[in-house]
């Protein structure tokens, strides 16, 4: 277990240090790309609690990310709320809607769960288009106030945005760790591995699943709130199923399901890859599909799994909590 604990803490701290170190030299463009990568990591970590830890594939999280963005946008722009309060409200709103979605979706089993969440993701996108008075419809929500500057960063909004995003990622990562360590986390692991056995041990399967879904929705909402503030504008396209909704699955599967730190690697790779390899941009979406297919076929434990396997080859301390799809039962 110690090896696992080190990986769980060591790697994120390294990423954090690199990000903070890169901050002074980076120009606006690199800062923006890093901020998006950190936001996507927040989404990926919270989504991993549902997909990697509990074994449920939801395609409605693009929509929930949007709910957070529009809620925060509305509160800060029209009702004059302070950003931090609006972010909290956005997280609560997404958590609430996520819980409702979960209560409906968890009545189904197996493939129907994913199909139902895909349906909810598509319908949610339509609502962003149709509810024009609230969301600005296809024109998008304009004029969203930026993030209030932290002390010392008043003159440099791009750097300020990155630091705020990193703070949110740290909070999300820590919360996910607490969730994993908690009794609910253990229950989720049991649900992922064998629902019937979990029930026969008296685990309240319903509560565990609902907690995992609501947790991931809440932080998706918070990430949406930050995204809205740093872009000062949000349009429906960012929240469609095949945009963020699908990408978050790619982050987690490539990164390593169930490891929490793996998806951060996945998010950084997938967000920064097209920016670094200019040519890659041409086929970026194709690359997402191919990467996802490659990893699910040949390396279901993702990059994290590979890293752990390497570490396992060295000293003889086996074991990881990261058993993933290979052993998961039908959802």
């Amino acid at each position: 277990m110690r090896r696992e604990a080190i990986m769980r803490w060591l790697l994120p701290v390294i990423i954090l240090v690199i990000a903070l170190a890169a901050v002074p030299f980076a120009n606006d463009y690199i800062l923006y790309v890093l901020t998006i990568a950190v936001l996507m990591s927040t989404l990926a970590v919270s989504y991993d609690v549902l997909l990697g830890l509990t074994g449920y594939l939801s395609l409605a999280h693009g929509f929930l990310y949007g709910v957070g963005a529009y809620t925060a946008a509305y509160l800060t722009t029209n009702s004059g709320w302070n950003f931090w309060l609006a972010m909290l409200a956005a997280a609560l709103m997404s958590a609430l809607i996520g819980a409702i979605v979960a209560l409906v979706a968890f009545r189904t089993k197996g493939i129907y769960f994913a199909v139902l969440t895909l349906g909810i993701g598509l319908v949610g996108f339509q609502f962003f288009l149709v509810l024009e008075p609230l969301t600005g419809g296809v024109g998008g929500f304009v004029g969203i106030p930026g993030i209030p500057s932290l002390p010392g960063l008043a003159d440099d909004p791009s750097r300020n945005n990155l630091v705020v995003a990193i703070v949110l990622l740290a909070v999300t990562y820590f919360a996910a760790l607490v969730f994993l360590r908690s009794s609910i986390g253990a229950a989720c692991l049991a649900v992922r591995e064998d629902v019937t056995l979990a029930q026969s041990l008296g685990i309240r399967v319903g509560t565990a699943r609902l907690a995992a879904f609501t947790f991931s929705s809440a932080f998706a909402g918070a990430a949406g709130a930050v995204f809205a503030a740093i872009s000062n504008f949000v349009g429906p396209d960012d929240f469609s199923v095949m945009a963020t909704g699908f990408q978050v699955v790619v982050f987690v599967v490539i990164g390593g399901m169930g490891t929490l730190w793996g998806p951060i690697l996945g998010a950084f790779l997938v967000v920064c890859l097209p920016e670094v390899l200019r040519g890659a941009a041409t086929y970026s979406v194709a690359i997402y599909g191919i990467l996802l297919l490659f990893f699910i076929l040949f390396a279901p434990k993702g990059i994290a799994g590979a890293v752990l396997a390497l570490r396992r080859l060295l000293p003889a301390r086996p074991a990881s909590v990261t058993q993933t799809a290979r052993h998961s039962e039908a959802r």
């Binding site: 277990m1 253990a186 064998d194 026969s200 041990l201 909590v321 058993q323």
Partner: protein, 239 residues
């Protein structure tokens, strides 16, 4: 005082009647054996008592209070915990993580140390369940059930597929926890294993309760022998 009383339980799956009007009592603090040929309805009864399946007819009551058939989640809160005929553990997790889940599910009062020692799991705690040998997995699945500190443990053929020395160790474990006040409802094929442990035994044949009494009485009873050892072997029954 009977801890568990089963009254008039019948179970039909479409045309097949698995259990017909079964009534029996399990006394508190005893090890109650359940034997019968394959397809006699033993596992079906366990599924009903554990709440996995709702019976077509009949009632159950626990600790004297009239509870009727109950869902699995409720059964566990009453203190009724079961194991499965085919070994069922969280294959993808390590033994330690398996135990932690039982620890969490049993509302956290289970001190794992005594379980680990009693079931000799110390050496395989950090190994992934999927990589453990069969006998260790059987003990792990038992540890999961015991981790919930049950009042009534429903054991579905704990000795199946084990080597003689492992069977002895399994009997030792059951005796150890029975000594701490655990009531056990033991379904088993292995007659000698059952006879050593059970103080009372119910014999099933084709879904009906054939006989109930002490293990010795059951061994001598002609109907039990006929049902259990098959028609043709009646004359060898005398040993």
């Amino acid at each position: 005082m009977s801890l568990l009383s089963i009254r008039g339980i019948t179970q039909r799956f479409g045309g097949v009647t698995a259990l017909t009007d079964v009534s029996l009592d399990v006394e508190e603090g005893t090890i109650h054996g359940l034997i019968g040929p394959n397809g006699a309805g033993k596992t079906t009864l366990i599924n009903i008592v554990s709440g996995l399946v709702r019976p077509t007819e009949g009632t159950l009551s626990f600790n004297g209070r009239e509870n009727g058939p109950w869902p699995m989640a409720h059964a566990v809160t009453l203190g009724i915990v079961r194991t499965y005929q085919q070994t069922r553990v969280f294959m993808g997790l390590t033994a330690r993580e398996n135990l932690r889940i039982a620890h969490v599910a049993g509302a956290g009062d289970a001190n794992a140390e005594d379980l680990i020692d009693a079931l000799d799991l110390g050496s395989s705690l950090d190994r992934v369940a999927g990589e453990l040998p069969y006998a260790t997995l059987r003990r792990l699945s038992l540890a999961l059930a015991l981790g919930l500190r049950p009042k009534l443990l429903l054991l579905d053929e704990p000795a199946v597929g084990l080597a003689p020395d492992e069977i002895a160790r399994m009997a030792e474990v059951i005796r150890h926890f029975h000594g701490q006040g655990l009531t056990v409802f033991l379904v088993e094929h292995n007659m000698r294993f059952l006879m050593e442990l059970a103080s009372r035994v119910s014999v099933f044949d084709r879904g009906r309760l054939l006989f109930e009494g002490t293990p010795e009485a059951a061994q001598g009873n002609p109907e039990v022998i006929e049902a259990y050892l098959g028609r043709g072997l009646k004359k060898h029954a005398g040993n």
